[in-house]
Each structure stands twice: as structure tokens, then as C-alpha cells.
Symmetry: none
Subunit: 547 residues, 2 copies
């Protein structure tokens, strides 16, 4: 059975740039366009040439290989022709292969915001489409406020659709500009529109203001549209646009859609999705959402609980798609009710292969349980689990020992009478019998200890140069300042890997120091494993890691 | 026209507890149950009595005032009657008014995971429902894997529904356990089910694995179910449950639903929603999602861009609901007015009455905005807001000043060669010109500072005797150990009142000290206000508080 082609239109670089706190540099835009092509979207909307220097520079050359490079702008202003409108000409003269013009489809907004008549708006629309099409561009029209407009005046909203198509637009995109339309309403309105215009020329541009941008996109597809506009990780104005990282696996993997539609995304593209989604967040300097559908760290994670025994018998019943199909992985969390099989799975993730009857497994299980009863939680601290496992298995190299540390914070008035806070830390470590002592100041005791610890790590100093602390979280387990404190440290290095370590103590400084120490240990371990692997191949690797 | 009643069932404390990295203490559960009642949900599922000590303790007494307090567990095991099943009896004997039992509705899972016949499963279901109902509990049945089960064997899935209802269940809840069902499939399957069972006895329990938990809940409601199960902020296993914080405003504010359905949520409840959502995240020690529908800091934020001019002419066209209806606010610089009314509301909550044109209001607004830009957040720190307001309004008594403090943490080996950590703090304060200096040891620097600070508070010592620190939370705002640290301290006293204070600094010790200092200040303020109120009545109170 032949399937309809669905087109994926990405607007991360245009509508996504409207996200509060987001600002793309030219370098960012170039890198993100590459990511989008790696996913396999059909259109990359790069921005608004003429609106700012970055966008203008971005459109000086073609930035895509396969996807259609698209420029965004407004239809011509009243009182001049499209041929003489600098805005329209900016798009027409850009390196884009397609131009997307926005046009208001709500009569009230036309009169209120533009101050022109509804007829003038239709004339501007037609003139703009004809001019851009005549210049050889593929032409798209974003109909702003389409759904609110349709509810208020369906005749006018439909006139915008047919005017654009008659003038030569390839696509007319129905925008839910303020994000307030329900999926059932989208379905009904799109159903009406397809009586007047072919679905293969219609697109949908939803927003997530009721948490239903993805559902609205799919409802529109079911009702007939054949283009979806969205963004990477759901970036976008206010609550964001439709998240393509969520939509794509649903379209490709779910028989409900895959049986009827095809996209430009291959299974190989899909396997890169988790990586691309996280690399994109890294570029934005923000932590990936753990609970993100398909690609989140928790998307295929299960705590040992009521589902544990069923899970072990058949993973698939608790996983709606195979995690590897989107490049993600199953995470059975090592916690409370951890059993031997959970532990073996977790060890395998770190390249440690043990037999099920290895007596060290029993010892490791007991250690994990004992530590979890004291407040450790290896759920979110996989690197600490790797370090602990190697320690218990006797395969952890003895990198360095901490002999002593001290941290001091003092707040007082200085000579000028201002309040000042001074923080200082001293760390004494031993490497191969040699004592190294360092002192550092910092913004706080943990920062000062971190600086002092890394100031001189002897022969290991060069190995930790690219180690960075990405995040630091503190949780008090029982409440009050005298309770047990759990510290989670997230680190990253030049390879792009991120790892988390944990420290637990009644003393927040002790707990922080432990997590810092384990992060450095994990980083050093990575180097050892890599060197050993390069020198001796798999056998060597297995030897170092699993004893 | 009469509207159907929709029931909201919250499972934050049960399914939400399955979220990776989340662990609720008894204190947390008590506080969260209170938040849920403030929103106006109908059912609070508190956990699984018997599964762990926290849940067991939580069910020793009734924890709700208006909502139906619900215990969760499994239907009876094979080979014994429900009357002799310790699991079932644990629920029946708990303080819960309702019991929710989970039962597998997918024949394949029944045989694979439970290892019993499908008939035995139905018998266990009926026996469990009858036993719990006979004990006087309202009975709910969660049908696990209902949608996958229905696709595989509709007859068996439907038999589970009818068996439960015939045995006396008040509700049968259709669970999309692995979260892979599409809204159109939910709509079709629920439509079929309602031919065999009344919609007013059916519920929906969706998961967000395709980003459509909210849409699935609404599709099920449109198809006939009358109970929705979800969680605060979409907590839950893997990608989470349906987010009630998103669903509730949609049900209450959108004519599409509000015209047909009513809930137990009042407009006043709804105005607290943003506050509760953020306070909940504060309790979980995580940053609220900026782009969350309705309640996110960006939900009504617009960057100056193509929408700016239209926005200035009419906000409503870019806002699908009024931000104040959910207690949120528009984030456009022209929102001065909205800012002032919010502030007046917050001041009134602390008994401070100001006129709208009082010039100090402008000053307080500027101060709050400036401090929030530096990382303060008064959403979850109402007591700090009260202290700040009185400071800016010039009505904060000058209780005591801190001249100097110092905290030191040292880890070393003692004479026996054991590793020991020693923490010591010194605090010097001034009261009415007199200097008081105290020193104390502690489990960590914050605990030691707290002890030293409270050791001698001169004439105020007796007033803070019943002050206790209930919780202490640390969040790093930008990542890394050098970033800005926000500390939230929750305190309580003999009156049962709890209050939260905040401290922000690049130094965690400074931030903690600030929050501790404000907690003591708030406590002393309470005493002053009470004394003054007793002496002079309302006039006196107004004088002290509002100047």
C-alpha cells in the first residue's frame, strides 16, 4: 500500500530563537543546521534575513545539503508593491531556496494590528506570493492566528488559504499562534479546510501552551495536512513549538502512523536522535530534560518496584518502542530492591562482564544495599557506581590518597566597613608516596576545595585539564541542618561525556568532597581504560575493568 | 445546561514516587497532600501501605480533609482468599477511605508475569473488590496495560472491566501503562468500552512516553470517562504521568471543556496553581520548568519580535488565557500594573494593607525584581518576602545585627589513625549595643552556625526556643561549584506554622546563613506582631506592620 509523504519543517533557528533566554550565534546556527540534516528534516527555516546581523549573515550562503533552506519574513507592507518592498526583496535575494511569509488570517488582527482592510491584506498576500514564486523560490505562507481567525470568521480565514494557493504558494501553513486550540478543534477545522484546499498543500504550526503541540500536529495530520512545523527539543516562544524530537519517532515507529505515512527520516537517522537531542542541549548550555519522551535519560528507566519482576521477564511490555531504535538505552536503576540481574545489567553498561555465580557479585550487591541504606542512591550517579564496583571487585587503580583537607569561611567587616566573605581551602594528597599540598581560595568551601584538589595532581594533572563541573546538587535526606546530606556532582569533559557522582555525609562539605573525589577518579579511570584498550585491545580492556 | 462532573485523581505520592531520583519523606508526603487539597483534587493516592516504612506510617492516619484519601496495592495473590491476603488487608486496615487495586488486563501479561490463568486473575479481581467494599472502602481498580491488552484480546480486557464493576468497584481505571497509545486509539477504545460500562464509572491513567499524556486524558474524557489520574508537574515513572497542573486550567478555563464538564477546582484554587507548582518543585529541590504550560516563567513571556506591536495593541490575542487566572503573570516590560496588583495580593496575605498609589509599592516592586534577577525567588519563600517587604516599607524592627561569623571544616586522621571530620563555628552579634559571641560544633558548617547563632540571642532567647529547622534545600542556579547558590530553609514552631526563607550567594555558607538569619527574624516578627495585636488591636497591628 502506498504511503503519503509527510514533510518535516524545522523552525528551531527562527521560532526557536524566540525562546526566553536563547540567543544563537552564527556558529550556533551553522552547527544546528548540521544537526537538523543529520536527523533528516525536509526544511530548515534559518531565520529572518534583514532582522538582525546574524540572520542576514546566515543567509549569505546556502547552509544545507539536502534539506530545503528556508528564509522567513513578512508579506509586503501596504502602499508599495512586493517588487519594491525591501523586506520581501531581502528574502527573495537571499541564498534560501524557499521563502516563508507570514500573513494574518484573523480579520480582527488584520484591522487592529496592521491597520489595513481585510482586502488589502489579501492583495498583499497574493502580490508577495507571485513575486517570490516568479523569482524561482518555493513559497510557503504561515497563516498567523489561523484557528482563532477561523472561529471568528471562517470565510475570511479560508479566503487567505485559497488566495495563497491560487497565487502559487507550494504550502499554506495553519498556525495556532497563541497555542490555545484543542486537538479536537484542530481536527474539525482542518477537516473543513481540506474541503477547499488539498491536504498535500497544507501544513500545521502548533504551540505547546496547553501541553498538546505534539497531539495537535498529529490531529492535523490525521485530518489531512502533510507538513508539520516544529523545533528541536520543543524550543520556541512561550511554552515552545511542537517538539520534533518527540514527533519523529512516533511518526516513524508507531504502526498507527508508519503504516500510512512516510518521512525523510531513515532508521539510521533515528538512531542518532538521542545523541543529537543531548548535543543540542549542550550547545544551549542547559541540562537535558530527564523525562523527555524517547530521548530522556529516564525515558526507559524503571525503578525496582511493582513492575520489577514483570520487567525482568519481558522488557517489551513496559517499553512502547525499543530504546535502541532512538539511540537511547534501558536503565534499570540500581536501587533498594536491586537484584543480581539488575547489577549484571548495570555492570555490562560499564564494560564489566561478570559471571552470575561470581562470588564478588554477592559482595557488590551487599555493599550497594548497605550504602543505599545510608543515603547513597546510584540511580542518578552511574559514575560512582562504576567506581564503587571496581573498588569492590578489586580492579580500581590506586591513583591518589587524600591525607587531610580543611575549608574555612569567614564573614567580617573589612577596613572600609564593608561586609566581606573569605573562603580558603587546603588539601594534602599522596601520590606514589609523595605528599602534595595545595591551597586555594574560592566562592565557597566546595569551590575552594575543588580548586585546591585540582591545583596539583602530580602526574595526573594533564589528564584532568578538560574536566569541568557542570552541575552540583544538594539534597538533605531527613530535613533540618543536622540531617544526612546527599551531594550529586555532574561533570563533563572534552569528549562530550557527562557523568554523575555522589557523596553522602552528615557534613555537607564531606559529602561534596567525596563526590568531587569520585568524579576525578572516574575521569582518571576513563584514561586508563582508553590507554589500556589501545595497547592491548579487548583482552586488556577486560583485564583492567573486570579484574 | 447541566454539566457532567469530572473527578481528578492525583497519584503524585504513588506513581510520582516512581520518578527517577525522587524519594519522598513522611514530611514531604504530608506537605504535598496539603498542596493537592489546595488545588482541589478529588482523590489523593498516598502510596502503597506495607511497601516501605514511609508509606506505612503515612497511612496510619487520615491525611486529607476534603479529598478522598486513597491507598494503592495489588489484588490478592493466587492460592489465598482476599480476607487472608496480607497485602489486601494492609490496605483495608489502613486509614484510607478508598483503596485502589491494580489488576493486569492483558492476558499475555497475566500468564507471563503472574504465572496464573486468566480465569484465576478475574477471580482474584472479584474477590479483592468484594472484600474491600465489604469493609466499607470505596474501591477503585487500575487495569494495567489496558490498551495493549484491548488490542490483543478485547474480550478479556472488557471482562476485567465488567468483573470489577459487578463486584462493586466504584471506578475502573483504564491504564496506558507503557504510555505508547495514541489519542485517536484512546478515543476509539474508550468508545468501545462505554458500550459495555457506564462512562461515569471509568477513569483514564495515561503516561507521557509520546508527549501526549494530557491529550490522551482529554481524548478519553471526550469519549466518556469521568475520572482523570495524573500528578503534580507530570511527575511519574519514565516520562511521567499526565500533568494535572496542565490539565486543570484547560478543563476549567477552556470553553470547549468548561461548557460540558465541572470539576472540584474553584477559580480561587486555580489562582494558586502557579504558586503551588513552583513550591512543589522547590520541595523536590529542582528548578521549575520555564516553558511549562500555564505556570512556567515563560508561559506568558514574549520577546520583542514580530509580535511586539500587535501585543502592545491587544495582549489577549497572544495569550490563550489570562495569566492571572492561574496566578501567573505576563512577562513584558510594560506589565508594571500587573506587577503591582500581584504585590498587593501578596502583601495582603501577610496582613499588610497598602494603597495602590503608595510610592513605597513602586520601591518594593523594583527591589523584588532586582533581587529576583540575582537569583532570589519569593515563590517558595514567603517568609523572606514578608521580611523583605517590611524592610523596604520601613516597618521591620531592628532585632539584632551580625558582626562576624566563621565556619571551619577539617578532615584529618586522629591519633588512632581514623579519619575524623571536625566542624566549628563562631558567631558574634550585637543586640542593643551589646556584643554577644558564641561558638559551637556541628555536623556541618550550617548546623554549627545555626547552633552558634541560637546559643545566645540575649533577650530574644526565650522567643526562639520552639523554633526548629524542618528542611534545608540547596540549588545551584547556573551549574558548577562556582555558580550562584540558592538556599531554602523551612522552619516550624510550636504553633504548627511552617515558613520558608531564602538566601542567595555565590558562597553556599553565606546563602545558608542569610536564610537562617531571616528565619529567626521572621520568628521574632511573629512574636512582635502577636504582642502588639494583643495590646492595641487592629490599629496597633496596622501600625507595626504597614508603618
Amino acid at each position: 500500500m502506498s504511503r503519503d509523504r509527510l514533510y518535516l519543517f524545522d523552525t528551531t533557528l527562527r521560532d526557536g530563537a524566540q525562546t526566553a533566554g536563547i540567543e544563537f550565534s552564527l556558529e550556533d546556527k551553522i552547527a544546528i543546521a548540521r544537526m537538523l540534516e543529520e536527523i533528516g528534516v525536509d526544511y530548515v527555516e534559518g531565520g529572518y534575513p534583514g532582522a538582525n546581523p546574524v540572520d542576514t549573515a546566515f543567509f549569505e550562503e546556502n547552509r544545507t545539503k539536502k534539506a530545503t533552506f528556508t528564509a522567513f519574513g513578512m508579506t509586503k507592507r501596504a502602499g508599495r508593491s512586493a517588487a519594491n518592498d525591501p523586506g520581501v526583496q531581502g528574502l527573495v535575494n537571499s541564498a534560501a531556496a524557499a521563502t516563508c511569509f507570514v500573513c494574518k488570517a484573523w480579520d480582527y488582527q488584520v484591522e487592529l494590528a496592521l491597520g489595513i482592510s481585510t482586502e488589502e491584506n489579501l492583495e498583499a498576500l497574493a502580490d508577495t506570493v507571485r513575486t517570490a514564486a516568479a523569482s524561482g523560490k518555493e513559497v510557503l505562507i504561515d497563516l498567523e492566528h489561523f484557528f482563532d481567525g477561523y472561529k471568528a470568521n471562517p470565510t475570511y480565514a479560508l479566503a487567505c488559504v485559497t488566495t495563497a494557493l491560487e497565487a502559487g504558494a507550494r504550502w499554506v501553513v495553519l498556525c495556532d499562534t497563541n497555542g490555545g486550540t484543542m486537538p479536537s478543534e484542530v481536527r474539525d477545522v482542518v477537516g473543513e479546510v481540506t474541503r477547499h484546499a488539498p491536504g498535500e498543500k497544507l501544513g500545521i504550526h502548533p504551540h505547546d501552551d496547553t501541553g498538546q503541540a505534539v497531539a495537535n500536529a498529529l490531529a492535523a495530520v490525521e485530518a489531512g495536512v502533510r507538513q508539520i512545523q516544529g523545533t528541536l527539543n520543543g524550543l520556541g516562544e512561550r511554552c515552545g513549538n511542537a517538539n520534533l524530537v518527540t514527533l519523529i519517532p512516533t511518526l516513524v515507529l508507531k504502526p498507527f502512523y508508519a503504516g500510512r505515512f512516510e518521512t525523510g527520516v531513515t532508521p539510521e537517522n533515528l538512531e542518532r536522535l538521542t545523541h543529537i537531542s543531548r548535543a543540542f542541549d549542550d550547545r544551549l548550555n542547559r541540562a537535558p530534560a530527564r523525562q523527555a519522551p524517547y530521548v530522556g535519560a529516564s525515558a526507559f528507566a524503571t525503578k525496582a518496584g511493582i513492575h520489577a519482576s514483570a520487567l525482568l521477564k519481558d522488557f517489551s511490555t513496559y517499553e512502547h518502542v525499543p530504546p535502541e531504535s532512538v539511540g537511547n538505552e534501558r536503565a534499570i536503576m540500581v536501587s533498594q530492591q536491586a537484584g543480581k540481574s539488575n547489577l549484571l545489567t548495570a555492570l555490562a553498561r560499564h564494560g564489566i562482564a561478570l559471571e552470575k555465580d561470581d562470588p564478588r557479585l554477592e559482595k557488590l550487591l551487599a555493599t550497594v544495599k548497605e550504602r543505599e541504606s545510608r543515603g547513597y542512591s546510584y540511580d542518578g550517579a552511574d559514575a560512582s557506581f562504576a567506581v564503587l564496583a571496581r573498588r569492590v571487585l578489586g580492579t580500581l587503580p590506586d591513583f591518589f590518597q587524600v591525607e587531610h583537607y580543611r575549608a574555612m569561611v569567614e564573614q567580617r567587616h573589612n577596613a572600609q566597613g564593608d561586609v566581606v566573605t573569605v573562603t580558603e581551602a587546603v588539601v594534602k594528597i599522596r601520590i606514589d608516596g609523595e605528599l602534595l599540598m595545595s591551597v586555594a581560595e574560592g566562592n565557597g568551601p566546595v569551590n575552594a576545595l575543588d580548586s585546591a584538589l585540582r591545583k596539583d595532581l602530580g602526574k595526573y594533572s594533564s589528564q584532568i585539564e578538560d574536566l569541568e563541573l557542570a552541575d552540583f546538587k544538594v539534597r538533605i535526606l531527613d530535613g533540618g541542618t543536622g540531617a544526612v546530606t546527599r551531594v550529586l556532582v555532574e561533570s563533563r569533559d572534552g569528549s562530550g561525556e557527562r557523568w554523575s557522582t555522589i557523596g553522602v555525609s552528615s557534613n555537607i562539605i564531606d559529602a561534596s568532597f567525596e563526590a568531587l573525589y569520585e568524579s576525578i577518579t572516574y575521569k582518571l579511570l576513563k584514561t586508563v581504560v582508553a590507554q589500556d584498550s589501545a595497547a592491548g585491545g579487548n583482552t586488556g580492556r577486560a583485564r583492567v575493568i573486570a579484574g
